[in-house]
Symmetry: C2
Subunit: 197 residues, 2 copies
Amino acid sequence: MIMGKSHEERRQEIIEATMALSVEKGLKKLTTQAIADRVGIAQPTIFRHFKSRDEIFGAVISWVGESLFKVVGGFFTGSGPADERLHQLILNQLAFMNRQRAIPRVLFSDRLHLESPKLKAVVQKMMDGYARSLIRLLEEGVAEGVFRQDLDPEQTARYLVAMIQGLVMRWSVYEFNFSLEDEAEPLWRFLWPSLKP
Amino acid sequence: MIMGKSHEERRQEIIEATMALSVEKGLKKLTTQAIADRVGIAQPTIFRHFKSRDEIFGAVISWVGESLFKVVGGFFTGSGPADERLHQLILNQLAFMNRQRAIPRVLFSDRLHLESPKLKAVVQKMMDGYARSLIRLLEEGVAEGVFRQDLDPEQTARYLVAMIQGLVMRWSVYEFNFSLEDEAEPLWRFLWPSLKP
DNA sequence: TTGAAAAGCAATCAATTACTCACAAATGAT
DNA sequence: ATCATTTGTGAGTAATTGATTGCTTTTCAA
């Protein structure tokens, strides 16, 4: 019997295996057995490190959310003109998702939402926080005069989130067969006329 | 034993029960037992009318797709200025989805896509046909001069689809707690600056 | 060195669920 | 009216899968 890993190391291995499998196989085949096989441990050992299957997904969601916030958080509160920060935000967010393919499979999955009200609440809380930061950024831009004066920040934030989420879902459905990162600049050029003063 | 219904009637009942349940409970609880209970028949009777569970979903997808095309098809090929047709298309499509809540739960569900390659192909074929019609409409608008001359029809079609799909997914995740139809006009006003000449 | 705690596993449970089968009841064309 | 076809059902099967249990092995601090 090999027991090289500590509790925390194993937890992280399980989280990473879960994300990798969500990309490769989708959530249907994401059984505790499949995760255990991927990690190289027996299926019941999973439950030494997580109380339940849902707890694994919860940990994955938290990990992804924190990673995403590390990447884009700076643009919400950083200095510089709001339009340029929004531009960079979209660029960096799509580039991050381009690397972290588990995001659409786990975070944007309607499956998790409808199966587990608890996980749904976790995701919604994250999304709401993201939306609030985006609204603030848009408000700053309107005040600075770099966006349309009659721009509705809440509405615009909804549309921006919807657009990005729709794009990412499409990218996921098409098996990631195009570069999400390369889509960022054209998207910004398309959106800019609706934002500019 | 009551056997009032013909084969076709039962099939339709099963399709409608499946759609209703997808709205109420999501796909997780969408078992053949639940469908049978809803229709008021025994669970094995389901399999007198459908060869498999996937065949039910296939029938639902086809039915929804045909219904949607009946509503929006006219705007693709109709007469009149392309910008006004696009405007009406978005209005009518969101109004239709506002009534047919099963669409995001079934058609836009990543679950079906990843679970059944066959159903995924059916949905993608429908989506591709929709996108092609939209591209043609945009091309006509550019030729008419009612849209920007440097507008890229394929790219714009992708963005429009992504935006609508993102909005509808959000609406579904939030349990349909706002009117999708009321979102259509503001959405059009937001998008128009990116389309107009 | 040692012994309690942690990490591992084989075996198994319990629940779920799509699907089958043998047979009964209803239907409808002749 | 009759009987072949269709529609229906209760009972059961096989497969999947999250989670438990009892026991073994490894780890590591005292």
